[in-house]
């Protein structure tokens, strides 16, 4: 009984794997090209539903772009060519991974700079001048004299 249930569940779960936005008529016959198309589609943002990639979006424009990606690949474009084609029309915004160029230097470098700065601050606090002054078991001569004076005063008064 349990075995049957498990089989039934695994069958249903494996079916959900196909329940993507990609429709059967879009899929290419060539499995290599199709795999490339799927990989590319995951890197391209849907311009209507902005936090989804076109691979998982049901929007009309996303479907058009998926078909376009497959057309370009079939025509012999490289992956970079396809992305360049899309960027020329929709801008860097369609890429989930922003390109490395002067206007994005801050974006790419800021996290590293923040970690570096924070790390330096931690190191400074932990090993800075305040911590470096180690306590000694000897008092300075001036302190010794002062304490001797206090002891003397107290003993005399008592």
């Amino acid at each position: 009984m349990i075995k049957k249930l498990l089989i039934a569940m695994s069958v249903f779960l494996s079916m959900t794997a196909f329940a993507f936005a990609v429709e059967p008529d879009e899929i290419l016959d060539n499995p290599v090209l199709e795999a490339r198309a799927r990989a590319l589609s995951k890197q391209v943002r849907c311009v209507v539903c902005q936090n989804q990639d076109i691979d998982s979006s049901n929007a009309g424009v996303a479907r058009d772009l998926r078909i376009l990606v497959r057309e370009r690949l079939t025509a012999g474009d490289s992956d970079a060519d396809v992305l360049a084609y899309l960027v020329a029309r929709y801008g860097d915004y369609v890429l989930f991974k922003p390109p490395w160029k002067p206007s994005t230097y801050a974006l790419w470098l800021a996290p590293g700079a923040m970690i570096l700065f924070g790390g330096l601050a931690v190191v400074f606090v932990l090993t800075g001048p305040r911590r470096r002054r180690k306590p000694t078991d000897k008092l300075s001569d001036a302190d010794e004299i002062e304490i001797a004076e206090i002891i003397r005063k107290n003993t005399v008064e008592n």
């Binding site: 311009v47 209507v48 902005q50 424009v61 058009d64 029309r89 929709y90 801008g91 915004y93």
Partner: protein, 187 residues
């Protein structure tokens, strides 16, 4: 040197604060996508006329050689805001003498024809973009979208969404005036 060191946190707070202030500005639309088309020549496309509508089709050449500032409006009969925008565009054509071109986006010709017969046809030319391929060339994300093309065929302005309401109209007309002033300045 030491004083400079203590100024660093203040500097960071100022930069971060400025950034957050910019981010919280209610007038900023965080989902607005900057168009790559601005200051670029009109994209390559060629569209047949809508079947049964007595207006010629639309292609790159028509816009590049218009010799005048032209407005390109992407519309569809299935698009509800387009219906509201239609009245605004018609008024601009009739009152301000705007030259209006249309791209009929993913629309059935019969539906588009009925829509134009019903509401009137302010368009000088209409290209039928059945598959939405021209829409991709223009980088549109939906309908309606409206572009202002300079006399030299360069895209000057893009308006995403319907031009409805005083704010939107003012913004669009100002951009249109600027585009026309460019032509006047050059000739």
């Amino acid at each position: 040197m030491r004083r400079l060191f203590f100024a660093i946190p203040i500097l960071i707070v100022l930069v971060l604060g400025g950034f957050l202030l910019w981010g919280l500005n209610p007038n900023r639309d965080p989902s607005a996508i900057p168009s790559v088309l601005i200051s670029q020549p009109v994209p390559e496309f060629q569209l047949q006329p809508v079947e049964g509508v007595d207006r010629p089709g639309l292609s790159t050449v028509d816009l590049a050689q218009a010799g005048d500032v032209v407005v390109v409006n992407v519309f569809a009969s299935w698009c509800v805001p387009c219906r509201a925008e239609h009245a605004v565009l018609t008024r601009m054509v009739q009152q301000d003498g705007v030259r209006l071109m249309g791209i009929n986006y993913k629309d059935k010709p019969a539906d588009a024809r009925g829509w134009l017969e019903d509401l009137g046809n302010p368009y000088e030319r209409i290209g039928s973009d059945l598959k939405g391929r021209a829409g991709i060339e223009w980088g549109i994300s939906g309908v309606p979208e409206t572009f202002i093309i300079g006399a030299d065929g360069v895209v000057l302005f893009r308006y995403v969404g319907p031009i409805i309401g005083p704010d939107a109209e003012t913004k669009f007309l100002r951009a249109l005036e600027q585009a026309q002033a460019m032509v006047g300045g050059r000739s």
